[in-house]
Symmetry: C2
């Protein structure tokens, strides 16, 4: 029996994805495989202390598991929403968590003093996860766009996460595509996020419903406009390709989304553009619509390769797996 090899197989990363509604913890092996997971509902804390206690509790649940199995945790890594100082392990600001300037790494080191500790922004973690273990794993240069409440994402250059100066880069939702357009929450006008988020899609759908009282979209929501979500227009159009309302909504959304994607094609000429977040559940149907729009506007026309566009595969595990890879990359 090769003990050395066995030891290596038992070396694990304890990875935690801190989300708005839950904290997902997992033990991840060196192949990026989740071998055990444990989830806690996000606590209704009002202080840094309560937040820390919840995290310590989750760590304790996970580490107990490893002791039973004679496994060893070699690092901890965290996917964190908001502005993170990755180098110093400080959670500078998180709107979701209502935390400010929490020296998270210092608190963790106090308690787990022998372990290397890493943390990175959740969008970057998801990007790294998708790029290493997901459908983009064989591509060197990846632009990852998440279409959820907002538009986030990340950049992989030559298989490595690119996060810009002070790890504050890749705010891919805050590229203006219409400088005279809608006011964005960031203070600028016309941000990609304001036009291509699931939230924007919901608004287009509501407008479409109000305009087309006979649209089949009404069937999707049981005639109650409060039931609108990002899939309503797509689902109605799949079933009824001639529905004017659904067609108008989807066409509008695809135009905005594709214009942003075309920008990223021209800027990065990536090997692949990967789409995640709620809207990505439309899968190949969505990809076909984007490709149909983009094929006529790609810069350089036929002499320029059109990037492959795919929807993300890891979904809710992307953050945990990405956090684990971030630790593995930086342990080397």
């Amino acid at each position: 029996m090769d003990f050395n090899n066995n030891n290596k197989r038992n070396e694990l990363i304890l990875a935690i994805d801190i989300g708005g509604t839950s904290y997902k913890g997992a033990l991840v092996n060196k192949n990026g495989e989740i071998i055990y997971r444990y989830k806690i509902k996000a606590a209704d804390y009002g202080s840094n202390e309560k937040f820390l206690l919840t995290i310590f509790n989750l760590i304790s649940k996970l580490s107990k598991k490893t002791k039973l199995n004679n496994q060893k945790i070699i690092a901890m890594s965290f996917s964190v929403p908001g502005a993170i100082d990755t180098d110093n392990g400080i959670m500078k600001y998180s709107n979701n968590l209502k935390l400010e300037n929490l020296n998270f790494k210092k608190e963790l080191i106090k308690k787990y003093n022998n372990l290397p500790i890493f943390m990175l922004n959740d969008a970057n973690a998801a990007t790294l996860g998708e790029a290493r273990k997901g459908i983009a794993k064989n591509y060197a240069n990846v632009v990852f766009l998440t279409l959820g409440t907002g538009v986030g994402g990340g950049i992989i250059i030559n298989h490595k996460l690119y996060a810009g100066s002070q790890f504050m880069g890749a705010e891919l939702g805050h590229m203006s595509i219409d400088i005279n357009g809608k006011l964005c929450t960031c203070g600028r006008r016309g941000c990609f996020e304001a036009y291509a988020s699931a939230k924007a899609l919901v608004n287009y759908t509501k407008e479409g419903l109000n305009k087309y009282k006979d649209s089949k979209m009404w069937d999707e929501i049981n005639n109650d406009i409060n039931n609108v979500n990002g899939s309503v227009s797509f689902e109605a159009l799949k079933k009824h390709p001639n529905d004017l309302g659904a067609k108008e909504v989807v066409t509008k959304y695809i135009r905005y989304l594709s214009e942003g994607i075309l920008n990223y094609c021209n800027i990065f000429r990536p090997d692949i553009i990967l789409i995640g977040g709620g809207v990505s559940e439309q899968g190949d149907y969505l990809v076909k619509l984007i490709n149909d729009y983009c094929k006529d506007y790609n810069y350089g026309f036929k002499s320029t390769p059109i990037p492959i566009i795919k929807t993300a595969t890891l979904k809710n595990d992307a953050g945990i797996i990405g956090a684990a890879y971030f630790a593995l990359d930086n342990l080397k």
Copy 2:
């Protein structure tokens, strides 16, 4: 005497910057210093053959010089306008040179069979030159924008040139900032190039002159609108800060330019944004105007570092020096 060291000092890159009006050749040492240069006016050729003869002639002039000085050319490297297949050394298409699918590398190898040969797009070459030998040399992540007839540029990630899939990336002028806006030569609407090029600035200046018949801009052009160039509005405003016409033109141009720059700040969060091309001759005056515009709109406000903005320093030598560094990087 250290012969080995001396030999190394005498190892040179023969670099050629193929431009629209001239071909600039140089011998560049391993420190990126030009030690000899020779320029030929661009020939009025109608064929690949004539183009090649002109290049061979330039190479011959430069290599004769090295023989006199007991120096050794260790590689040739070319900065080429248009679409280049860098891996295979094929000039796929150049609008300026009226060349198509010229297997440039193959022709060069036929004649200079012992030398490694490299070539890259002129915007990428200039980016690499500025990033290694120019004012950006101490920064890891650089966005370089050239504001000339068009808007070009390039990207440096972690001190290395990023050129995307098949070296076709970083068309930084073809990011739409107004998808309902002006039609661009590329077929899309609202490209950054259509708003922030020197050509766009010339158009704004002409509009301003026609609107403000008493503007001091008229003095700058001797009352002849055919004399308008990209510096007219800036020069008038420097001398007459209250001139309404000059102010309107410069304000309009700075807004478009800054909105594009803000996009690149949010996408890359680079350590530095470097501005080259004709408009960059406005130097610190230009940079101050951009900074004043950008400071209120940088994503994340005070928690996000605003990149340093500077104007490029190598100017016409950037392409040659960048081509030389591209060879040096790839010889290693």
